[in-house]
Symmetry: C2
Subunit: 740 residues, 2 copies
């Protein structure tokens, strides 16, 4: 062999070896590293979207709403088992599923002594009694498990007095009655739903000496004025004359006996007699059929125009009945309430999909399970979607096709109807772990109020992911228009950053997201399909919390074909996937800047002069908002830069931690100690109507009529400082971590 050949051979061999080394090192990703960069797979996402099946959602709903399933009832417990069975299914289940039970204080009407509302003559004869249950229109309203209409947590008692009409039972309404010279002491106040919380009506009434409260739903508020039998369910989606909205009249949320503690059997419990937040006087809801008989017989001055409704008569204020009506003028109304408080077991069901890369980051998705009666819309429309979503994901999981980057926690909450009890106890039990690790909470309670458009509520960082999801999904029956493009037609606003966009609502305490956002500072959202507001002014879907909220109602009137349910499943599912699978968390924190800026402008416009008069400067707040905007903008740029390069998994994790934890920085448990659970300085309840910083605005309105130097003005300054510190802390969390 020639030396040239030998040399050539050696060079060739070296080249091959070298090539191999280069290929081995650079072309083949290390197992751990490539897995660490696992990102959202759009093909899998699209396949999931396709698999979410309207007819399966319909079947889920039929099964879920077959029986009334009031919290802690045997039927509620049967649904716990159904959820466990679905989530443990070997073909389509999750990694694990468990029920956890709390012992909570619920309130029920007595079976032996039904609550009663009656007109009683001066001699004690019962001249008229309101219905004690709704009319059995579809065969579903007559069963033994249909709980009669009642005001949960209203105390027992049998007050009797002259009837007055008190509109919505707000503080202003009672003031107005008093200003008219109407003596309220010892009366029974008839009020209509709306304007204020359920329990607040009784609280306001009691302050004026009212002895008992009735609440009804006016056809003007729920049925666009329609009230006759042939215009209402089962002939339309409207509320029948006998329908009564049940509900919790408790002022706070969570188990009433264990505030801030999980309601485990061994937990410390308050003495029920000392619990605050229950209605102070007996209260009972009635149907508008009965309300009409009471209201249209009242004597006295006509109620103001804004107090009039659609019962077909001139609403008078009372007190007492008119001489020429159905009842003797001195007849009184007797309200007999026999509600009982009971400690009951109520369960949450949790189903887990372990994350492949970051199992310690949790994306939570939940809905309550308990209903007032059959609860087809509320909450089973949401649970039907939840089960379809978990089925599709579970199937991929069991097949080995997919496992999310982060863990997914599905939750079915108990006893929401009594005051978000299951979810609140959960947040109390796992406070630390959730604060450390929860990425976001997605709530889908009622998934379909009506089938016109998407409606979403949430904190600013979730706006972008809901937009991204809704842009990729076709709206039902609109020829390819996306959910986003349909949505923007119904709810929109002009964003200084993005131009015209769909408007996201803010989160109150209407469903189980409340403890997550207000108590824990976890970015949260609520997703549903809803009304065309140009077609109805109904407060809510008409059979809400009645025995007419049935499968047939949904199937026939709310969402025939279930395409809106499917649209919600796809939207919420896509949001869930994006949050659990994206390498970079799709939480756009700079969208908080827009909210802060608008809150600031509102504060300047509405409170600026007042504060200036009291030598309180908004300059530190302006500076804090600017710092936030600057830090958020710079963070956006760092994310973009990192996305262009090959991202380093630890750097991504650090960045994602900044995004995840931003919402937590707005929590201050010492900001509003009197507002139970509310710690988020931006979303605590606001008494005024201007969308601005709640602590500052509330303190200002309390201080408005006091002199400078009073504790009320000190509280304004304290609230301003709390806010500034929170915003500066938020900006600090967004700045580069290495700068400290």
């Amino acid at each position: 062999m020639k030396w040239v050949n030998v040399l050539g051979g050696i060079v060739g061999a070296a080249a091959l070896l070298g090539l191999g080394i280069i290929l081995g090192h650079f072309a083949i990703p290390k197992g751990t590293n490539s897995q660490h960069l696992q990102d959202l797979d759009l093909e899998i996402l699209e396949s999931i979207m396709q698999q979410l099946d309207a007819s399966r959602i319909r079947e889920n709903l039929r099964e879920l709403s077959r029986e009334p399933h009031l919290a802690s009832s045997p039927q509620d417990e049967a649904l716990v088992q159904l959820l466990l069975q679905r989530w443990r299914d070997p073909e389509s289940g999750l990694d694990s599923a468990e029920a956890s039970t709390y012992e909570v204080l619920l309130s029920f009407p007595s079976r032996e002594q039904p609550n009663r509302v009656a007109v009683v003559s001066p001699t004690g004869n019962v001249l008229f009694s309101c219905r004690q249950s709704e009319q059995n229109l579809t065969g579903e309203q007559g069963g033994p498990d249909v709980v009669p209409p009642y005001a949960a947590y209203a105390p027992p008692g049998t007050p009797q007095g002259l009837l007055v009409y008190a509109n919505q039972g707000t503080e202003e309404d009672f003031m107005k009655l008093q200003a008219q010279g109407i003596k309220l002491e010892g009366t029974i106040a008839l009020t209509r739903y709306g304007g204020t919380g359920r329990g607040a009506k009784a609280v306001n009434a009691a302050k004026h000496g009212v002895a008992g409260v009735l609440v009804y739903t006016d056809p003007a508020d729920i049925n666009d004025g329609q009230s006759s039998t042939n215009e209402t369910f089962p002939n339309s989606w409207r509320l029948p004359p006998s329908g009564v909205e049940r509900g919790s009249y408790y002022e706070y949320f969570g188990d009433p006996l264990t505030p801030y503690l999980p309601a485990n059997p061994s937990s410390f419990r308050l003495d029920p007699d000392t619990v605050s937040g229950f209605p102070p006087i007996p209260t009972q809801p009635i149907g508008f059929e009965d309300a009409k008989i009471l209201l249209c017989n009242l004597q006295g001055a006509s109620a103001p125009a804004a107090w009039q409704g659609a019962l077909g008569c001139d609403y008078k204020l009372g007190p007492g009945f008119q001489p020429n009506g159905d009842f003797p003028a001195d007849s009184q109304v007797n309200v007999s309430v026999y509600n009982r408080l009971e400690l009951r077991n109520s369960s949450n069901v949790l189903g887990i999909i372990r994350g492949a890369v970051e199992p310690d980051r949790y994306v939570l998705y939940g809905n309550h399970r308990d209903s007032w009666v059959h609860g087809a819309v509320d909450p089973s429309s949401g649970t039907a979607v939840l089960l379809e979503l978990s089925r599709v994901l579970g199937t991929l999981l069991k097949k080995g096709t997919w496992r999310p980057r982060r863990s997914i926690v599905f939750a079915s909450w108990g006893a929401e109807e009594f005051g978000l009890i299951g979810s609140t106890e959960f947040t109390e039990e796992f406070f630390s772990k959730l604060q450390e690790r929860a990425v976001a909470y997605i709530n889908v309670d009622i998934s379909v109020f009506a089938n016109a458009t998407l409606r979403a509520q949430g904190t600013p960082p979730v706006q972008s992911v809901i937009f991204a999801a809704s842009k990729q999904i076709p709206a039902p029956s609109l020829g390819g228009l996306s959910i986003y493009d349909n949505w923007i037609r119904y709810f929109n606003r002009s964003s200084p950053v993005y131009g015209l966009v769909p408007s996201l609502g803010s989160l109150g305490a209407g469903s189980d997201y409340a403890p997550f956002i207000h108590f824990l500072g976890i970015s949260s959202m609520d997703i549903a399909y809803t009304y065309d507001r140009s077609k109805t002014s109904a407060r809510i879907y008409p059979t809400y919390h009645t025995a007419f909220d049935t499968f047939g109602y949904v199937d026939k009137f709310v969402d025939p074909g279930f395409s809106s349910h499917q649209a919600v499943a796809r939207t919420a599912g896509s949001v869930l996937l994006r949050l659990s699978d994206s390498l970079f968390l799709p939480l756009n924190v700079s969208d908080y800047g827009e909210t802060l800026r608008s809150f600031l402008q509102a504060a300047q416009q509405n409170l600026g002069v007042l504060l200036e008069q009291h030598s309180i400067s908004l300059v530190p707040l302006v500076t804090a908002v600017e710092k936030f905007e600057g830090a958020a903008g710079a963070l956006d740029q760092r994310i973009s830069a990192l996305q262009k390069a090959t991202p380093d998994p630890l750097q991504v994790r650090m960045l994602n931690d900044q995004l995840m934890l931003l919402e937590r920085t707005f929590l201050n448990p010492r900001a509003f100690p009197e507002e139970r659970y509310y710690s988020h300085v931006l979303w605590a309840p606001r008494t005024g109507s201007v969308a601005t910083f709640p602590g500052l605005a509330n303190a200002c309105s309390r201080a408005m009529n006091t002199s400078l130097g009073s504790p009320a003005w000190a509280e304004v300054q304290r609230q301003l400082s709390i806010l500034v510190v929170a915003l500066e802390g938020a900006a600090a969390t967004l700045r580069p971590v290495a700068d400290f």
Copy 2:
């Protein structure tokens, strides 16, 4: 060429290529991955240990203690500049250094009207006046910047009355005087340091109508009984007769006007007149030279044996002076205090070393900078160590030899002497960021009290890292005995897990670690060298908070040669390195199990019967402790397993997050709302002497004398539930993250 050769060539080439691929993939670590696994380098650690230089610490101390540097004084500000200069040095500085300034409420004596304590005859003649400054023994006590002895935050006033002796001024002491029939109304109470907090003496006194309080240091408590000039400084380390302990008499910590808010110029401030926690009556500290004249002239019954001291006379109780003494029997004592509250600027200095791998994890190391006078021991002995440690680390950093895995934050706090003000404001300003990212806080305040042994305080997870560090470092002048082996001779306990080990003290509120552990739930520790307790019973080093705490005092008496300073620098430095550089955080969370178990046993032994009598079961607490132990043990096993395999950087990060955040899970801001800043359910102040769960024990002692069903017993149950929930939450944080 034969086909065999061709085949052979192809096979050979393929083999070479394959070998190359295998080598390239497996034998050459990917850049990012290997960096991610950066771990503690023992060679670098040892080199740092060697470089920490006793003579440089001595020079630092000389420079730091040259001038009195009372908080917010020009000399304090000059030290801010010195720190900035050192930490910005191009050869030995850190990555960055900044000062941040707060506007805080301090208290100073008037320059124009010095505080005065005098004996006044019935006719108003001044018969005797206490010294208004300490004797100028070394030329350092006479300067204009030596603040005269005073009780910071004691209110101005000029009370005058008969003198009584009230021992340590505890509640029991005043009760005992009252029981003896001594009328306390309008008197001046002479008390000695010890037994209770400074401010508490005046609080207790005022409850009994006392008009003014004097405080002195008895030679029995500080000098092992010695009091003559030739037995005290400058002839020994003992307190000279004129020496007076200054101090803050404020009950809480943090800036008094801005609780829970950083004291930025724009922050909301309380009205100083409404601030709670200041002493209610004028108070003034005096030397034992003057105390002797007052005390040895008192009339009345002899004080109990336990109240007697070493002033060389029989201590009587008063009221008033004995007829045959130095003063007429009806002479009174006048206490004239002219202290003023002033808003002053006080700075923290922060120096940062960016972490190479996890820059968003902060290991904090700090000490205060302000002193009462020269403060050579307190705090400059700690700052001298801090500067030497930052010099050595800064030098390695600037040379490019080393960069820690995690970020290191060095801190020089302002205004600690007035109530941990600088550190508290820092934790208020960066609450969220620190809660999210702080790994631990290391405090080295007074680094050397005396040169016998190491003394460490901390929460259980830091025990192991202090042990590991102290085992590797030789104790000064003990022929190779390790600091650990020396330590165990002085402070030890029998651990059920480890056998005989040095005993770690628990953290009160004596230095700047307080806001970190109690308010933020960050694992903290305090490290120092201290006394041989068999050789002295001094409350603290004798010149504490006097004008005799000078460089010469340290150099001659406390630590000649500075080898104890060096030992502290090495120990704290090694702990810092281990926390910032180890791949797995060296926080041993299962050591919390031992503490919980011992607290539980103490509760069972001391409270068990009482609780049983009131039908309160400790079973849920037992279960919670067991759950914690189980979860911690299992976590230990997972760490061991992971350490044996090639660890995955993200898995390590997740595990470290569990370790880091454990301490946070014990926080409950709603547990003790009346205890300002204290939120840690295990380390809040305890009124009793038994080492057990503070909330439970305190509630029990309050409830002891009330009937079942009273709110006090409800509070016992509430505290028990708070504790159980915290322990269950802690266990939940330690369990495998993927199980949720």
